[in-house]
């Protein structure tokens, strides 16, 4: 909630500031800048580069601020770290009361820390001082009675913390934390957590970068990073190619022949709405969990998309073009080669982009279920060991690669079908 509010605030603030700055230095150029109607004119709305940059930067800032990153200048309050103490008041069996102090050392988990040394003084009376060490974000039990004179005798009880009365199942806020009493009368101290996320929930950005370098150098569980990603990509490419190899001709046949259309229409229309992920269990039963199964799954994921886009490419041909070609003396085969196929290419490329995206998503999911190597396998293995940094690194890599695939496809498209949308 808080994060969302901060994000919205940054959004609004950045917008206001940008408008003020851009408005003053109004050196807008180009045709779009001359348009007076922009609201509702989709072509006049281009992504504001400044907004994109600020958006990404602020995500990292918020991420950094809430994880205590070294990269960001401001942080939300972190967990308490350092020395603190509280005093407790105990009553013994003889109804005498005495105070004792608990000295606490709070340190980041993983940092070796020692219990604080107790001062020489303050050991008079039956309640003796105690020492405690706690990890940040954790809590620790302390049985203060253990070293107190008469602490083991029935009737001994702790009655107050820092002068505030306490009873079983109650708690008292002290400096830098909370002291609570269990139902059996032991004390438990939890240092204040602050607003930052524990690394096990969300590591700082630099931890993930460090982990990325580490993993790309040493691999993870004896598998190199490039090998993990390479296997995923390999499956996607093979599955996609097989799907296209079958799907495109099938789509053409469906667009050109009524028997094919009638035969495959029910199958395609039935298979189309089934998400490939829903096929995983069946594919595992049929083909097992190894390569054959995953590639069959990706093949199925790509197949219907490519079939449908090839079919749409054929039916999208302007009939005038076909008529013109016939009038110019082209045979059916020539019409297919010189008119129908080139005319359907833009549609097929659009389909290919979608199919690649779906395949990439599907392969990661399939690897989550079962795989020896692969991007999905890496993150699911890491999650079992609560290596959140590897999980997040994997997710970011998967996103970047998916995005990269789409950009490559778009580049291929603009080189191979420059006439797209210009018919």
């Amino acid at each position: 909630m808080l994060v969302l509010m901060i994000y919205v605030t940054i959004f609004v603030l950045a917008y206001v500031i940008y408008q003020a700055v851009a408005g003053r230095s109004s050196k807008k150029v180009g045709f779009n800048a001359r348009k007076t109607v922009t609201f509702g004119d989709e072509s006049a709305v281009t992504a504001n580069r400044a907004a994109s940059v600020i958006s990404v930067v602020s995500i990292f800032l918020i991420w950094g601020a809430f994880t205590g990153s070294n990269l960001t200048p401001i942080h939300v309050p972190g967990p308490f770290v350092g020395k603190t103490s509280f005093t407790y008041t105990a009553t013994n069996a003889e109804n005498q009361t005495d105070d004792g102090t608990v000295h606490i050392n709070v340190a980041k988990v993983g940092n070796d820390s020692k219990k604080p040394t107790l001062p020489e003084s303050g050991q008079s009376g039956f309640a003796k001082d105690d020492a405690l060490k706690v990890g940040a974000w954790r809590s620790a039990l302390i049985r203060v009675q253990n070293n107190d004179d008469g602490g083991k005798i029935k009737g001994y009880r702790v009655t107050a913390i820092n002068g505030q009365a306490i009873a079983p199942n109650q708690m008292v806020e002290v400096a830098d934390g909370v002291v609570s009493m269990t139902s059996k009368g032991s004390l438990s101290f939890a240092p204040s957590k602050g607003w930052q996320m524990e690394p096990i929930w969300l590591p700082a950005p630099e931890a993930i970068v460090t982990r990325l370098f580490e993993i790309s150098r040493d691999g993870y569980q004896n598998v190199a990073l490039s090998e993990n990603i390479g296997w995923s990509l390999f499956r996607v490419v093979v599955g996609f190619l097989l799907g296209s190899l079958v799907g495109i001709p099938l789509g053409y046949a469906m667009g050109l022949n009524d028997w094919f259309r009638g035969w495959f229409d029910p199958i395609v229309e039935f298979m189309r709405p089934i998400p490939p992920l829903a096929l995983i269990p069946l594919v595992i039963i049929w083909f097992g969990i190894w390569e054959q199964g995953k590639i069959s799954l990706l093949f199925l994921a790509a197949l219907w998309i490519m079939t449908i886009s090839a079919r749409a490419g054929v039916s999208g041909v302007n009939i005038s073009k076909v008529h013109a070609a016939y009038s110019l003396g082209a045979s059916k085969l020539q019409i297919l080669l010189h008119v129908i196929i080139p005319n359907s290419l833009p549609e097929i490329f659009t389909g290919a982009r979608v199919a690649m995206g779906v395949c990439w998503g599907t392969v990661v999911a399939a690897e989550l279920v079962a795989a020896e190597k692969g991007a999905g396998k890496m993150i699911i293995a890491a999650s079992k060991f609560q290596q959140t940094d590897i999980v997040i690194m994997g997710i970011i890599l998967i996103g970047i690669i998916g995005f990269g695939i789409d950009i490559l496809m778009r580049m291929a498209e603009s080189v191979l079908v420059p006439w797209k949308g210009k018919g």
């Binding site: 073009k321 013109a324 009038s327 082209a330 290419l345 210009k422 018919g423």
Partner: protein
């Protein structure tokens, strides 16, 4: 009829009835007959929906008529063939090919050697005034230029008859006038039989040795004119031709004829 004997293109009693899915039927054409001699230039006018496009598609061989036949050079038309070239209003160029490839499409399909195609295409591009644009992509050309490419592509096949369905309909007035001059020039130079459908009375007058006015429901020939303006326009400025006294009176006559038909259609609808 003696007229039909010497005709190279004979439209013989053509009828076309479309059966609609709701069970009713439309008589798009009823008993349309017409003979055209080689080298004649015919323009066809008529209110929207009177069957002009249907007639042209039947001549081109894209539609089989429900009655009658089309005969070209003593052969019955069975389907599309390169002897009958077609120029569409728009959208019929192959945008994945260069201008040159578009124009050379017909000969290439026939397997004419590359070199021959090239000379022929260069010739045609010169004629339509696009010699510098051979290697451009068609989508880089303006609408008027694209129609020139379509004309050149049609001519490259050396058809006997050229069929045009509102070929200049999508162009602006100025480009359109230039293109009208080009059509007349090509007609005279190539001696082709041309049938041109248009919505513009002026264009029909200028580009028709013969002018056919069609009437709707059922689609039929309403009136035929023989006009001198096309012949005049070959050598003279088209604007000069329009100043001719006869031109104005014919224009008024045909305009009011079509207006009447349109009004009749509206009246029947109510």
């Amino acid at each position: 009829m003696a007229d039909e004997k010497q005709s190279s293109l004979l439209i013989d009693n053509i009828s076309m009835t479309f059966n609609l899915p709701d069970g009713s039927s439309v008589e798009a054409l009823k008993d349309v007959s017409l003979g055209l001699a080689t080298g004649e230039l015919l323009s066809v006018l008529g209110p929207s929906g009177c069957g002009k496009t249907t007639l042209l598609n039947i001549i081109a061989g894209f539609l089989a008529p429900t009655g009658g036949q089309i005969i070209l050079n003593d052969h019955q038309v069975q389907g599309p063939a390169p002897e009958r070239g077609m120029v569409f209003q728009r959208g019929a160029l192959f945008e994945w090919m260069s201008v040159r490839k578009n124009v050379g499409f017909g000969p290439a399909m026939k397997g004419v050697p590359e070199k021959q195609i090239r000379t022929r295409v260069d010739e045609l591009l010169e004629i339509v005034g696009l010699h510098d644009f051979g290697d451009k992509a068609v989508y880089e050309l303006s609408g008027g230029m694209q129609q020139r490419v379509a004309l050149a592509r049609c001519l490259a096949n050396d058809p006997d008859v050229i069929l045009m369905d509102e070929p200049l309909g999508a162009l602006d007035a100025l480009t359109r006038e230039k293109m009208q001059g080009l059509v007349l020039k090509l007609w005279k130079e190539t001696g082709k039989t041309i049938i041109l459908i248009t919505h513009s009375v002026e264009e029909a007058l200028l580009l028709g040795e013969r002018l056919l006015v069609m009437a709707p429901r059922p689609g039929r020939i309403h009136k035929e004119y023989h006009l001198p303006f096309a012949e005049m326009g070959v050598d003279a400025d088209l604007r000069e031709v329009k100043k001719h006294g006869d031109y104005g009176s014919k224009r008024e006559e045909i305009l009011s004829m079509i207006w009447e038909m349109e009004e009749e259609i509206m009246g029947r609808k109510e």
